[in-house]
């Protein structure tokens, strides 16, 4: 049995969590003020994940880049692989919010989607 202290990143409140871990599983979670804290703590001690945000180059648009994100959280150790993959890409303007830029990025099952309009 081990206790880990985490800072919840579910929202900017940053609750201080205390997690009891038994055989790699979270058995007891304290300090969270919402359900997200519990979900985060469980994930963070077993399979830490993140949303990745970055930019992708745009050709022929009002802006040189368009901001993007993964449409769901991905394993933390895949962050750099994803960044590497989207650095190779150029999209043609116009781009709309929610447009899929890359499907199944770095084999994670997550898509890279645009988060801004570029005309």
């Amino acid at each position: 049995m081990e206790t880990r202290e985490l800072t919840c990143i579910g929202c900017p409140m940053g609750c201080q969590l205390k997690v009891q871990i038994d055989q790699g599983q979270a058995t007891e979670i304290a300090g969270n003020t919402c359900k997200r804290g519990e979900v985060y703590a469980k994930k963070e001690v077993t399979n830490p994940t993140r949303i990745v945000t970055s930019t992708v180059a745009v050709e022929g648009g009002s802006s040189a880049v368009v901001s993007v994100k993964t449409n769901r959280d991905i394993p933390k150790d895949k962050i750099f692989e994803i960044i590497q993959e989207i650095k190779e890409i150029k999209v043609q303007a116009p781009v709309h919010i929610g447009d899929t830029i890359v499907s199944n990025v770095a084999g994670t099952g997550a898509d890279i989607v645009a988060t801004k309009e570029v005309k």
Partner: protein, 421 residues
Amino acid sequence: MLNYDIVIVGGGPAGLAAAVSAKENGVDSILVLERDQELGGILNQCIHNGFGLHTFKEELTGPEYAARYIEQLEEAKIEYKLNTMVIDITEDKTVTAMNRADGLFEIQAKAIILAMGCRERSRGALNIPGYRPAGIYSAGTAQRLVNMEGCLPGREVVILGSGDIGLIMARRMTLEGAKVQVVAELLPYSGGLKRNIVQCLDDFGIPLKLSHTVVDIEGKERVSGVTIAKVDQNRKPIPGTDKHYTCDTLLLSCGLIPENELSTSLGVEISPVTAGPLVNESLETNVEGVFACGNVLHVHDLVDFVSQEAKAAGKHAAAYVRGGARHLLFDGEDIPIVAEGGVRYTVPKTIHPQRMEENHTVRFRVGDVYQNCYVSVYLNQERVIHRKRQVIVPGEMEEVVLKQEELKTFPNLSQITVKIE
């Protein structure tokens, strides 16, 4: 001269939410003036996620959050002018502005909402010794360069200041292939949100050196290195603790300052603590019919709270324009809110028991880190709120909720005190 009921200075998160709210509250003649080429303000360069949990119950990126409000603005057919710089506002609410299409022009408003936001503390204001080479940027400038213009401003980076933008940029520059060597913070605690320290520094093994500052910048054409030293309790560098870092870029994330030049020349009274206007519960300044919200009022950590505040400002400005009964209630019975015992300031600064909301949120910041303490509110000498808190930090805005019923019925109420105990 143009005529509008409400002129809103600034088309960032505060201006957008204020405009939408003013419209919802029955005012049709609204004009938003924005100096950038698009609406959305700082949100456009904040491409990271975490915005909107309170407002939309989902986690959005900055541009997505802005787009939600821009959509509402367009749907409500609220007028706005881009690339437009406001250069003066007078007490009779004449706004002088200029842009390339209209030249210099004047607008007569019935009410004004100040929503100009804030700007970053510059190197000049920090008094860092050393040369003045290229390669020194405010964190927000670097953020704009990377996220909107697609340029990486440097490859080996040292960051001074652990404000949120600095932390966010530590991660962003790392993802873009730069090596972020260290984040130095003068204070013994970070000014940034906990989650940003976890997600932006810890995730990437970037060290955070608390009680450290930059004591020298080297390089004549371009930054070639900086020296960082530990500081004592008086924030003075301790001799012998110098450490040299080779780098080509220094980012500064050392605080944000509300941008109140227009407010000051208009005669708006400014708080020396927040550097923003002193406002009553309706977010009205000492100049009648001039309201303030968002980072121009006090620097926020969460855009959600900016939107909430701006919504209130829009509602009150609309009520003022409609000439409702609210302002007839002005009877000198505004109750001052006193910030004591670690509380640096409160917004609002005064509250009127008749005009306030049923449950009125008062926001504040503390001046130091407090553990196992209580947030207390006193009406005169009587304690009415005593809430236990594990930790309160200066980097995160706090709030208490005052109840109208309690204030209205309290005999001879002359002062409200918010303090940490």
